[in-house]
């Protein structure tokens, strides 16, 4: 993931909070938010994930003029070489296995973050419902306009040998 600038904007927070079903006015109403302990509009706990919007290379967003693997005329827009029968990764880089956030301070509307991602460990495991699993970890540090650390995020992705069987 490329290092990028992530402006934290009130309108984006509003849309994000709506999407996770959170009607807390501290995410939506600046006048109300001023009267709370937060002191202004803050971001919900998982908002840093929306930094993907500001990653120019983010591979799960269709890009102008480039092929996209979702359906159009055909079930997929990309003719892929054999990759083990479509795999549980669904051609999109696998599934999300874990996500961890450490909050050094509360993220607020108006912050401008810079994200730096470091690769972490990789490991393998035999899964009961999806064959061989390959896990890989990455750590992203989000720093604010003053260079101070705001959030440390650790994500773990998994590629499965075949789609996860349903219980």
């Amino acid at each position: 993931m490329a290092t990028k600038t992530f402006p934290v904007e009130a309108s984006h927070i509003l849309m994000f909070a709506r999407s996770v079903g959170d009607d807390n006015r501290v995410y939506a109403d600046a006048d109300y938010a001023k009267t709370t302990e937060a002191g202004g509009i803050i971001a919900p706990p998982t908002f840093a994930q929306a930094s993907a919007q500001f990653d120019p290379d983010y591979f799960l967003r269709p890009k102008i003029g480039q092929p996209w693997f979702g359906s159009g005329k055909n079930p997929t827009g990309i003719t892929r070489s054999a990759e083990g029968g479509g795999g549980g990764g669904g051609g999109g880089g696998g599934l999300h296995a874990e996500q961890h956030f450490e909050y050094h301070r509360q993220l607020k509307a108006g912050d401008v973050l810079t994200a730096t991602t470091f690769p972490g460990k990789t490991w393998e495991k035999e899964g009961r419902r999806s064959g061989k699993l390959v896990f890989s970890e990455s750590v992203t540090e989000y720093r604010d306009q003053n260079g101070d650390l705001v959030i440390t995020a650790r994500g773990v992705g998994v590629r499965t040998e075949r789609p996860v069987e349903q219980k």
């Binding site: 996770v20 994930q49 979702g70 479509g86 669904g90 599934l95 999300h96 956030f101």
Partner: protein, 140 residues
């Protein structure tokens, strides 16, 4: 709004219903807000015919986000210091989800009082879809 340590004890439980009959449209809404447009979450044709799943399914981060509302409603705004989860089962359209936080410990660090919580979200069949932890600052 915020919790007080004097009113908390290990084993206390807080629960909240997150969603009933999860709609595909909410998953689309989350895709747009988060920027994660993986077709596995919104494109039924791709997901069933190419990826081999029975239907589209929710972003793990949507479940984590909905579970986060349960946490911030419980501990108060701007109080979380840690929140982490494992996605243990997939969430599909039509699912009902309920989340639970259980007080695991009360600790003190650098003069702040912290509550440590075990976090779990289950679906209508009692299957755990998310398992994790959180830590938050509480009042004395």
């Amino acid at each position: 709004m915020a919790l007080s340590a004097k009113n908390l004890k290990v084993g206390d439980v807080h629960t909240a219903k997150l969603v009933e009959d999860l709609k595909r449209t909410q998953i689309v809404q989350y895709a747009g807000a988060s920027g994660d447009y993986n077709p596995l979450h919104t494109d039924e044709i791709f997901t069933t015919k190419v990826a081999g799943y029975p239907s589209v399914f929710a972003h793990g981060m949507l479940t984590m986000g909905m579970t986060g509302k349960m946490l911030t409603d419980y501990v108060g705004d701007a109080r979380l210091t840690k929140y982490g989860v494992r996605f243990t089962s997939q969430v599909f359209p039509g699912d009902d989800l309920e989340a639970r936080a259980t007080v695991k410990a009360l600790t003190e660090k650098d003069g702040a009082i912290l509550v440590e919580l075990d976090v779990s979200t289950t679906n209508q069949n009692g299957v755990e879809v998310l398992s994790g932890y959180a830590e938050a600052r509480v009042d004395a």
